[in-house]
Amino acid sequence: MQFGFDDDQLAFRDAARDLLDKECGPAVVRAAGQADPGSLDRGVWDRLAEMGVLATIVPEAADGLGLDEQALVLVLEEAGRAALPHPLVETAAVAAPLVAGGPGAPGVAGGPGPAGVPDAHGLGMVATDLGGPHVACAADADWLLLQDQRAGTLHLVDPAAVVLTPVDTVDRARRAATVDWQPDPASVVTDDPAEVALAFDRGAFGTAAQLVGLGQRMLDLTVAYVVEREQFGVPIGSFQAVKHHLADALKELSFARPAVYRAAHSLATGAEHRARDVSMAKAMAADAAWLAGRQALQCHGAIGYTVEHDLHLYLKRTWALAAAWGDAAWHRDRVASALGI
């Protein structure tokens, strides 16, 4: 029994954190909310690609890092902490292992899928509708991973071949659009329901990891604020009402995090209870981050209720991701079913 990460996994996280701290500050997130469709800056994305993050869970035989979700989870948590606007979960957790999953997979010689996808690295940036109808970064992506609901198939589609309609999301940096497209048998990457279910679970898991990171970022911002901000001649963080708000946020995040880590383990090991564990992670992470956001805004007071302060960047991403890839109620329902009730 060992519930923890090894030195390599922690070093991978630290490298990602350093990179994101440097390349994905609040200014980058703001800029992503203002850039025209198709012109998302790829600076931080290209650095992540150079680090190998996009192919973290791609087998070494397919030129990936050959790691598993237990390494990826820490990086996705950091991506959440930075509110990275790029579709990292969609690309690294969902599409890359699907496309380079093993012998016979798309991207491997003789596998199915559209022409022009040489391997997992050739994928570039992938957006998907697996997590919901509002496809984040749809106009910026190199490929779209789209689900044909009726046939149950997943398709890898050239964005030029679809009609995108931008959606005015509350979090502008979501850069979301709805996709109008016609399924074509030539673009199928899988028709295996188990593969589709796994792809969805990886997306929900990755989003849960991001939510824990977002919640932690909002808590950190708030702690820094309430230590500095003075009213009645003392820092407001010395007041019990403020302490209890933040202790609750800390508590919920502290217990959601191990649930997310366990989901990583269940995915990495193909555990029998994988779907239940992923749902537990997503439900708990969404609720914890949501609470952290509420407490963060309340403790910031009016300054937090502006678009001039950075808090709203993380708050709005939290709201978006809490609802994406199945909201907490949907995932609780799935846990209840797994419990046999």
Binding site: M1, Q2, F3, G4, F5, Q70, L219, V223, V226, V227, V234, P235, G237, S238, Q240, V242, K243, H244, L246, A247, D248, L250, K251, S254, F255, A256, P258, A259, Y261, R262, A264, H265, M280, A283, M284, A329, R332, D333, V335, A336, L339, G340, I341
Partner: protein, 405 residues
């Protein structure tokens, strides 16, 4: 991460499971069936539960993590967690010896002399000496440093005066471990000493009284110029240094809040029973109150189903959080202030688990039974072992670094 148990840990689990199954049945039979066993917080029930404690001791299960020389089996923290899971899964009763085993014993291991350890620990494990906690006073609750009970050094021992209260099972115990002010000039955390007091000491009076559920589980203890001989406990009645009582006492609060007092196994078992209760209501609506006059034939609501999933997750998350904690402790880390959020988590979880059960039971919830009993007990969780308000302060100040007042 490796979330599997080793062969020896699985063997340990199997041994514990088999022993518990056999001995629980035997203990129930000994007292005329499970239904005839009273609450361990009543005088009659306490005696029945002592039979259980002695069975545990005879099987060397009373304190599995202790060294064998003191009555344990040198179990690792992992094995201890496994034992706790099996214990509550089997439906074994609350430990009436827990305040000694889980609160005093860690302190004795850390601060006791070899002679104190050799005397106190085996008798505690054997349920020969029964220990209660004497910390709270009428005017020292959350503000524990306001302790006023005094101990004055005298020829061959100490003279004790003052009052302790909210002493769990004090009316049935034989010994008290308590904090007393030994330096009359001192204030707050200074000048306190940790003393071990036999309750049959002349001048000590114990009065039991009813808790919320009516059981005589509480006591107040009066010290009226009571002479506590230095050798009333072999090895001495003073645990740790004179005047160092606060530090000695606080060394155990991490255990109380964090790990050993309320292990995940307890809440996992309650969550599993809650799932069963819901299932029973589904398969036989007449079995639950939802077939009552206000809702004929209806099944439990979707909202309750979702809440059950939620509390099951919270119990499971506590297990995972604990696996993380034990991994760190096994790697040499020490229990930190994060034990305070732990205590808030499990105590509020316990309330919620029982609250949902009451809602499932409907009108049947007012009938005395395991769920209504458990509900009342769960309500004490956010109060004892440092109120949850105090725990939130500790978490905010020592984990998040917010300024003290």
């Amino acid at each position: 991460m490796d979330l599997s148990w080793s062969d020896s840990e699985q063997a340990f689990r199997a041994e514990a499971r088999a022993w518990l199954e056999e001995n629980l049945a035997a203990w129930h039979d000994q007292h005329g069936g499970e239904a005839a066993i009273a609450s361990g917080d009543t005088r009659a029930g306490f005696a029945q539960h002592l039979d259980w404690e002695r069975r545990l001791h005879d099987g060397r299960w009373a304190a599995v993590s202790w060294p064998a020389e003191h009555g344990g089996r040198d179990a690792s923290l992992w094995e201890w967690l496994i034992f706790e899971e099996e214990y509550y899964r089997a439906g074994a009763p609350p430990r009436v010896t827990q305040n000694g085993i889980f609160l005093l014993a860690p302190t004795v291991f850390e601060f006791g002399t070899p002679e104190q350890q050799a005397h106190v620990l085996p008798r505690m494990a054997a349920a020969t000496d029964l220990w209660c906690q004497g910390w709270s006073e009428p005017n020292a609750g959350s503000d524990l440093a306001g302790i006023a009970a005094r101990a004055v050094r005298t020829e061959g021992g100490w003279r004790l005066d003052g009052q302790k209260t909210w002493t769990t099972r004090g009316a049935f115990c034989t010994h008290l471990f308590g904090l007393f002010r030994t330096d009359p000039e001192s204030e707050r955390h200074r000048g306190l000493s940790y003393l071990l007091v036999p309750l049959d000491t002349p001048g000590v009076t114990v009065r039991g009284f009813g808790r919320l559920d009516g059981d005589e589980g509480f006591a107040e203890v009066f010290f009226d110029d009571a002479f506590l001989a230095e050798d009333a406990v072999p090895g001495g009645v003073l645990l740790g240094a004179e005047g160092a009582g606060w530090k000695v006492a606080m060394a155990t609060t991490g255990s109380e809040r964090g790990l050993t007092l309320r292990s995940p196994g307890r809440f996992l078992a309650t969550a599993a029973r809650l799932v069963e209760l819901y299932r029973a209501g589904l398969s036989d609506p007449t079995a639950s109150a939802h077939a009552g006059p206000t809702a004929p034939g209806s099944t439990p609501s979707a909202r309750l189903r979702e809440r059950i999933a939620e509390v099951w997750m919270r119990a499971e998350a506590y297990r995972l959080f604990t696996l993380d904690t034990v991994t760190r402790l096994a790697g040499g880390a020490v229990m930190g202030a994060d034990s305070s959020i732990n205590k808030v988590w499990w105590s509020e979880l316990d309330c919620e688990l029982h609250e949902i059960a009451l809602e499932l039971l409907g009108p049947a919830a007012e009938v005395e039974g395991p769920w209504s009993k458990g509900w009342q007990f769960s309500l004490s969780g956010p109060i004892y072992a440092g109120t949850n308000e105090i725990q939130r302060n500790i978490a905010a100040e020592r984990v998040l670094g917010l300024p003290r007042r």
